[in-house]
């Protein structure tokens, strides 16, 4: 129990920006003779000691070195700020991870709440969105003949920008960063295209209500929540999928779009051993899973038994019949349990968190963890973050940031916040990753091959220059006093460099920046140039 004693010892330390909830967990643990609800010590054995990477302090607490802390924060969050690194030098890694893996449903944080305020209208219900986001202007409303004509009076552009800013603000300021990172991971895994049809009215609820609360939970629950959400039902056309039938205007039948992506992208993977017949049969199982739209309902999931195909369907050699809505649910649960699904998800997680070339040993261990823990993501992520491949020296800085990770990590590095406008979302579009606007169901790629190109780099240089001048980027920040008052250009670059980059930053980068900064006169100009070059540096493109 020596580690427990050292955790209790933490109570006496002042921990800046540290999470009150963790302190209460610690307080409870220290005051109790029973084993704590979260068995920290058990996980400590699996903490990254296998390759001896972790610093063993005199108190034998699993504290991380500065570069280890930066590595963890680069992968498990949207990017480190100096105070996050300081926190991890005082709080054991396992305790930090426990805290990140058990966030409260509603995050109560004053800074986040205030920052979200300007975008709160984007979280209204569909009918309220239509009422609120009306185009203003002298034009009288058209005679209410066609629904389409009526809809064209809605300012969808503003609605979508506010929606994007709502999500970007959470990614930027939430203390529960791992949940935001996983929400982003799943939002791409279960991609929807915000511009398609009425998805624009439900995409915020899709992220906020279907994905985020389940981002760290059991995979089958998340899978079912996405399958039933109007955003997915509309995006992949299941809302119009009905049993084979003749109508007055012709024939109608099942739509295979959702079933195909469910098998190929959401669960088994393209090499998952299913065939076209499985796709067709799965589509029949989901006939009748639809959406009740306005004006009858606020875009809610509805099962319509009258258009559900009650015949027998065989998917992956298992029969589904006569169970109505339950057939689809049974199929989703079976798919979530399938070893190919475990392997597919493990591969994608290892790609996201470890390396584009996912290490086979990591994929194997994460697959096993998934199957053993019935897809419980908290356990799967513990396996991932304690895996030797995650902590290898060669893993560090080996991932190329996506535009989203680049932009948010820049803002987090300087402790910036949105200015209440929507320029930050527009910048993401300029950088090539307009949030929730990927039309194809694969979502945005997390791999260097998708983003490491000349046009992408040039747009980042441009972003860095605008960001540093606090011009048109929509992020406000102040330099800390130690940097704002630094008159020596060499020290300025060293200090700001230490805030943004790891200790291993190359001499080439630092001297190239210092040379240019030193040739400028004003201190404000020097700070601006130093920041824009640091954000543009080869090192800052990596995480």
């Amino acid at each position: 129990m020596s580690s427990w004693r050292s955790l209790c010892y933490l109570k006496a330390i002042t921990v800046p920006r540290f999470l009150p909830a963790l302190l209460s967990v610690l307080a409870a643990a220290c005051g109790s003779t029973h084993a704590p609800a979260v068995p920290v010590s058990e996980h400590q054995s699996s903490v990254p000691s296998p390759s001896g990477q972790l610093a063993k302090t005199s108190k034998s607490v699993d504290l991380l070195t500065i570069d280890q802390a930066r590595h963890l924060l680069n992968r498990a969050t949207f990017g480190p700020h100096t105070s996050d690194i300081q926190t991890l030098q005082k709080v054991p890694f396992s305790a930090w991870l426990d805290e990140q893996l058990s966030p409260p449903l509603d995050e109560d944080d004053e800074r986040l709440r205030l920052a979200l305020e300007p975008y709160k209208n984007s979280t209204l219900s569909p009918s309220q969105l239509i009422a609120h986001y009306q185009k203003t202007g002298p034009e009288p409303l058209a005679p209410p003949r066609l629904i389409r004509t009526k809809k064209s009076t809605v300012n969808y552009r503003q609605l979508l920008l506010d929606m994007q800013m709502h999500q970007l603000t959470r990614q930027l300021l939430s203390k529960y960063q791992l949940r935001e990172v996983m929400t982003d991971f799943w939002a791409n895994h279960f991609n929807v295209y915000a511009r398609k049809s009425d998805v624009k009215l439900v995409v915020n609820s899709y992220i906020n209500q279907a994905i985020r609360p389940r981002a760290l939970g059991r995979f089958d629950r998340l899978l079912i929540a996405t399958a039933k959400h109007p955003a997915m039902l509309i995006y992949l056309d299941n809302a119009t999928s009905v049993k084979e039938q003749k109508t007055k205007t012709g024939r109608r039948g099942p739509n295979e779009n959702y079933a195909r992506e469910l098998l190929e992208l959401h669960t088994l993977s393209v090499h998952g051993g299913y065939d076209q017949s499985d796709v067709k049969e799965a589509a029949r199982a989901f006939t009748g899973w639809g959406v009740e739209s306005l004006p009858r309902s606020e875009f809610t999931y509805i099962f319509r038994p009258q258009v559900h195909d009650n015949g027998t369907k065989v998917v992956l050699n298992r029969a589904y019949k006569q169970r109505g809505e339950e057939e689809g649910l049974d199929l989703l649960r079976a798919l979530a349990r399938h070893p190919k699904t475990a392997q597919h998800l493990a591969y994608k997680l290892c790609q996201r968190f470890v390396a584009d070339e996912a290490p086979p040993s990591c994929v194997d261990d994460v697959t096993k963890s998934y199957l053993k823990n019935e897809g419980e993501m908290t356990e799967v992520l513990r396996t991932l973050f304690s895996h030797p491949t995650f902590w290898k020296d060669s893993t560090r800085s080996g991932k190329f940031k996506t535009p989203l990770q680049f932009a948010i990590s820049a803002a987090r590095a300087v402790n910036g916040a949105p200015d209440g406008g929507t320029n930050f979302a527009r910048q993401l579009a300029e950088l090539g990753q307009d949030p929730y606007m990927q039309a194809i169901p694969t979502g945005y790629s997390d791999l260097a091959t998708a983003w490491n190109n000349s046009a992408g780099l040039l747009s980042r240089f441009r972003f860095s220059a605008l960001f540093s001048a606090q011009s048109d980027v929509g992020i406000v920040f102040d330099f800390p006093p130690a940097i704002a008052q630094e008159g020596d250009p060499v020290l300025l670059v060293r200090k700001l460099g230490a805030q943004l980059l790891s200790q291993g930053t190359s001499e080439q980068t630092l001297s190239a920046i210092t040379a240019e900064v030193a040739s400028l006169n004003g201190q404000a100009e020097q700070r601006r140039l130093a920041l824009s070059l640091l954000l543009s540096s080869p090192e800052f493109q990596q995480r």
């Binding site: 004509t149 000349s454 046009a455 240089f461 441009r462 601006r528 080869p538």
Partner: protein, 414 residues
Amino acid sequence: MTNPCLSRRVFLQSLCGAAVSSVSPILSASAPSAQDPVLVQLFLKGGMDSLSALVPYEEGTYFDQRPTTAIKMRGSLLKKQRLDERFALHPGLSALKPLYKKNHLAFVVAAGLPQVQRSHFDAQDICESGGGSQIQRSGWMARALSSSPAQQFDAFSIGGSASRSLAEHESALVVPGLDHFSLPGSDSERRHFETGLLGMYKAREPSSGQTALRLNADLEKIRQNYRGPQHGAKYGSGSLKGDLRTLAELIRETPSLKMATVSLGGWDTHRAQGSTDGPLAKRFAQLGKNLAAFVRDLGPERKRVVVVVMTEFGRTVRENGTQGTDHGYGSMMMIYGESVRGGMIHGAWPGLRLRDLTDGRDLPVTTDYRRVLEELRVGHLGLPPNESPFDFGELAPPGTGGLLQAKSSPPLDT
């Protein structure tokens, strides 16, 4: 002018300048020739009403179905705008009439997707990705360009956002217009920033950083040396003005350019679209004036260029209750180029009899838009016929063939 650094071709200066002397040239030093063909895709987003652009003035149905929005083609207007015995050009597009008379402009009627798709974004994405009924992962231009080795400066999306047509083409560059492209800040700030960037990226990974800086240097030189439209070209208004001005200059200065995309929105005319005047007529005027100015601006370079104008779908034959038209199906394509078999209207015209309309409401499609793009890809760009970026399924209607003059256009086997 023996010193190459004093050449008119401004990109050479960047190769001679101190800042980038350590890097190899991106651009060929030779002047572009007719052997460096360029294909420009001008996408009209929102579903352009082809029945207003190309008025079927002999069809009674057209006037019956469109009491307020039909273009009343008679008398002097008809005489001025008449293209042939069936069609007349919207007066807003009259700037294009001389190109048609010179046989450099052709139209393909009833062109569109092989399957009905009435969602803007799906239809646009299918078109730009070169699909039939499904959105493809990469853009059609990206797949077309993959048959030759990747080259810097071979593809541009003009206008601020990456075109879906170039998705997954690694060297595709988004150019938001010459006025916006450069790095921000004063000249001095920019110089320090660029020198710092060069120092950081010199001989370093990712090598895309160095390439980006070379592109930046070249584009910056192009920008600084830009002398405005050439050959007396007078552009019209709207976003197309800046985009096409930029593109004309880039075509002059970048012999490696093969494909470029430009788009113009605002065609979704559900209400009060007007007829000879009104919002749609204004949009046509922007298109017509700017496209005609672009052709003029290109000067001798126009020999290298073919422009294809397309949209995601046409609009309903019948006007709706709000003096507009709704999402339809068949539309038209417009092709400009000196190698085009212009001065004529290609494609089979299905007519507007109600019983012949798709779903009883829309102009059918008789030419798969991909057949047109494929013919230009092979005939104009000279890319290998057996490496088509399109997967023509059984459903695809045949193409027209013969869009280009015989020497450059092998017959298309449909």
